[in-house]
Symmetry: C2
Subunit: 304 residues, 2 copies
């Protein structure tokens, strides 16, 4: 192998991100595309990966470590799940080899909560946790990872004890696109209406049972009082996030901060929401976290 | 006019129902189609109505009373709203005449709650309320009218004091059709899995903030433990209805029954849900209610 350089890949359902990494953890090159699991399942995982490696001129013997949906049953090679309570080290030990490839390729497993009363799965977020918290982080953390399927995770001394997935992001898309509220948000600009968002977070946090009513009020308000598409969109977003926070924050120890692992727009929204509720937070960039997690995995797998 | 016979029409967003009624309130003929407001706005309201009257051979001078979305701004003739607190008599007084027609045609107004903190609107349900409760029903009623947009209404002595719309039915469609859960429910049979439904109602009623997590568990459960598409569908349905009940029943006086105005599958589901929570209920058939409401309107408008 070319020293200890390696390739790190975060392979989601609908997105593909690849970094060419130096031994010291520096990003030497980067590729992003929408060839996530869904697309790659059609065109071939090996071909997608090789095309991006070729584009970067990556050496033929560089090893590759992958996290995310490439390890799902419908992915490239099934990498299974580590069961809760799951020490983050177990993820590294559970890495699966993709056989029949010229270079060494490993896919990290996900984590499963095989609790019949609260079954849950994650795939990709375990690597973000590893990167954000490290292998043996002391003490307890309540981690929020917003997304299409937001995760709230309780970690103690490097062990994932419990977690819960909230399909908040996907609900937002479905409500804004496929219900009567699509008319209310039509033409909304990209900028965030902070006032509408914060008011919606507070209302939903205080009365989560009202969620389906708070959503309908977006339409009633426009009909009776007018209002911008932007305010409508942020009210839908704030309502759904407020309900999620009502459940997620119930797990928080009094006064303890929430570790928020997020990037971009979601980072801004969740930070605004937590601040609106006066909840202290430690912000960690999600992309940096997954890269650090993959770096940790590469170091453990190939430096031994 | 031909005695006191008349035509009653319930004209919703996506459905059209017409009854030829005798003076004594007997149904003499009936028509149903999917020419709701959305379709009729394209083909013409007058033409749609006339085609159904022709099919029944209705006399040219029979008067027509209409409730529902035909009175919306995007409908036939805007019939406006009566504001809360709204006595049900006010609906009758607010009926709007469709001008330029050979026969007499009236459209009933909706009800608006012009409360900036809880804006809401109904159109069609006010006529069901009139039919179910009568003009001067003594005492207080908490009414649940399930649907695409469920209504919960507090009525006292014939006056609609407050109401709230929950977009439960539309959320169900969007979640089951346009999210990752569409895979979980694919191929579900029409029969109801009562156990899965009741368990989901109870779980969501107890912890409404968890709703987006309870929904995602449908997928996790199938992935880790298997389970039928039917159970998945009823769990989604029960979760969304359970959250709605947590909010709607908060308005209930201790021990008082809920007046459930519903038909068909929704009637069965909401009755099962209320019984699972040991809530007493008075069931009223929704179609009979709207017909009785339109009959009351016709009697007031044309018998004077």
């Amino acid at each position: 192998m070319s020293g200890l350089s390696y390739v790190a890949v975060d392979w989601g359902t609908s997105s593909f991100r690849l970094w060419l990494m130096s031994a010291s953890g520096k990003v030497l090159g980067e590729r992003r595309s929408d060839e996530g699991m869904t697309a790659a399942a059609r065109t071939g995982f090996a071909a997608v990966l090789q095309s991006h490696l070729d584009a970067l001129g990556a050496a033929a013997d560089l090893p590759v470590v992958i996290c995310g949906m490439a390890g799902a049953r419908q992915g490239w090679v099934e990498a299974g799940y580590i069961d809760t309570p799951a020490h983050l080290t177990d993820i590294l030990n559970g890495a699966v080899v993709v056989s029949g490839q010229a270079r060494e390729i490993r896919i990290l497993p996900g984590i499963a909560q095989r609790d019949a009363a609260a079954p849950d799965v994650m795939r990709g977020e375990e690597t973000q946790l590893l990167g954000a918290l490290g292998l043996n982080a002391p003490g307890e953390a309540l981690v929020c990872m917003p997304g299409t399927h937001s995760k709230w995770v309780k970690v103690r001394g490097g062990t994932v004890e419990r977690f819960a997935t909230f399909m908040t992001g996907e609900l937002f898309s479905a409500v804004a696109r496929d219900t009567i509220l699509s008319h209310a948000v039509a033409g909304a600009e990209e900028a965030v209406d902070g006032d509408a968002f914060r008011a919606a977070v507070a209302a939903a946090f205080a009365a989560p049972a009202l969620s389906a009513n708070l959503l309908f009020r977006v339409r009633s308000r426009q009909l009776l009082f007018g209002g911008s598409a932007q305010a409508a969109r942020e009210t839908i977003s704030g309502t759904l996030i407020g309900v999620e926070l009502a459940a997620g924050l119930a797990e928080r120890e009094q006064g303890a901060p929430v570790t928020l692992i997020a990037s971009g727009r979601l980072q801004r929204l969740y930070q605004m929401a937590l601040e609106a509720l006066s909840i202290p937070l430690d912000a960690v960039d999600a992309e940096e976290a997954v890269r650090r997690g993959l770096a940790g995995a590469a170091a453990t797998i190939w430096k031994k």
